[in-house]
């Protein structure tokens, strides 16, 4: 019952801080990150996931499905300019084509 949460603001992230910190530390170019920044990056990541999932869901809706599939996420990653950095992370599945001739 924290007063600061009454306006819909979120005072803590559901992402474990230790894990976020660990990911950031992987980057040797980063010297230090303040605790406020760590919090903001965590919260921004939550917002990002929410956004990515919503976009993915739209594609499953177009297909009249009630299950969000990998291909929906891949389409969302491809269709939104801000998600260009995900191109190699969530590539479109490549269908393996069967040979036309029977062996």
């Amino acid at each position: 019952m924290v007063a600061s949460e009454s306006a819909g603001a979120v005072a803590s992230s559901m992402l474990p801080a230790a894990r976020v910190r660990r990911i950031i530390k992987e980057d040797k170019d980063i010297y230090a990150c303040g605790s406020e920044s760590l919090f903001l990056i965590s919260r921004a990541t939550e917002c990002f996931v929410e956004s990515l999932v919503r976009e993915s869901y739209e594609f499953s809706r177009l297909d009249k499905r009630k299950t969000v599939q990998y291909k929906d996420v891949a389409k969302a990653a491809q269709s939104i300019e801000q998600y260009d950095f995900l191109a190699d992370i969530i590539p479109p599945s490549v269908a393996i084509r069967k040979p036309a001739v029977d062996s």
């Binding site: 992402l15 990515l52 999932v53």
Partner: protein
């Protein structure tokens, strides 16, 4: 600029806990919608890469502003830089809430310490560490890591990021 791609191979192994991601994903869709396992894994990897991507961009902003530590302003600038300025309003409110909460925690801790009396210096190391944890500007510094200098393939960027070693 940010090089999320070059770090991608190692950071993809640092996934968030499945339960946390699932909760986050489910809260973004209506209750009757389910998520395929592969979709969840994809989102999980994306989340990890995003942390790295945003942090690297914020780091660039910090350097551009002439400081080494990533500050809140750098993160906001980074969000604009990657085209996610829409998040800013919401996150500013969250930051206010976070700061208020941190302040409350600190005051509570101080009151608790005053109530139980001062600890003998040197005796309660754990208490001192706990106090450090509550400092508003707890920093995540590379030097805290277990770093074997000979281990990683060094690059010029690594050298400039490291503090001078004190033997």
């Amino acid at each position: 600029m940010a090089t999320a791609e070059s770090n991608a191979a190692s950071i993809e192994d640092l996934d968030f806990p499945k339960a946390v991601l699932t909760r986050l994903i489910k809260s973004s869709v209506p209750d009757n919608i389910s998520i395929q396992k592969e979709a969840r894994l994809g989102v999980s990897k994306a989340a990890t890469v995003f942390v790295s991507y945003l942090a690297a961009t914020a780091n660039d902003c910090a350097r551009e502003s002439g400081h080494k530590t990533i500050m809140a302003a750098d993160v906001f600038r980074a969000l604009e830089a990657v085209g996610l300025g829409d998040f800013t309003d919401r996150l500013r409110k969250d930051l206010d809430a976070f700061s208020s909460l941190a302040k409350e925690k600190k005051e509570l801790a101080q009151r608790a310490r005053a109530a139980t009396g001062e600890a003998n210096p040197g005796e309660d190391v754990e208490d001192d560490l706990a106090e450090e944890e509550e400092e508003e500007e707890e920093e995540v510094v590379q030097e805290d890591m277990d770093v074997d200098d000979d281990e990683d393939a060094g690059s010029d960027a690594d050298e400039s990021a490291k503090r001078p070693r004190t033997e």
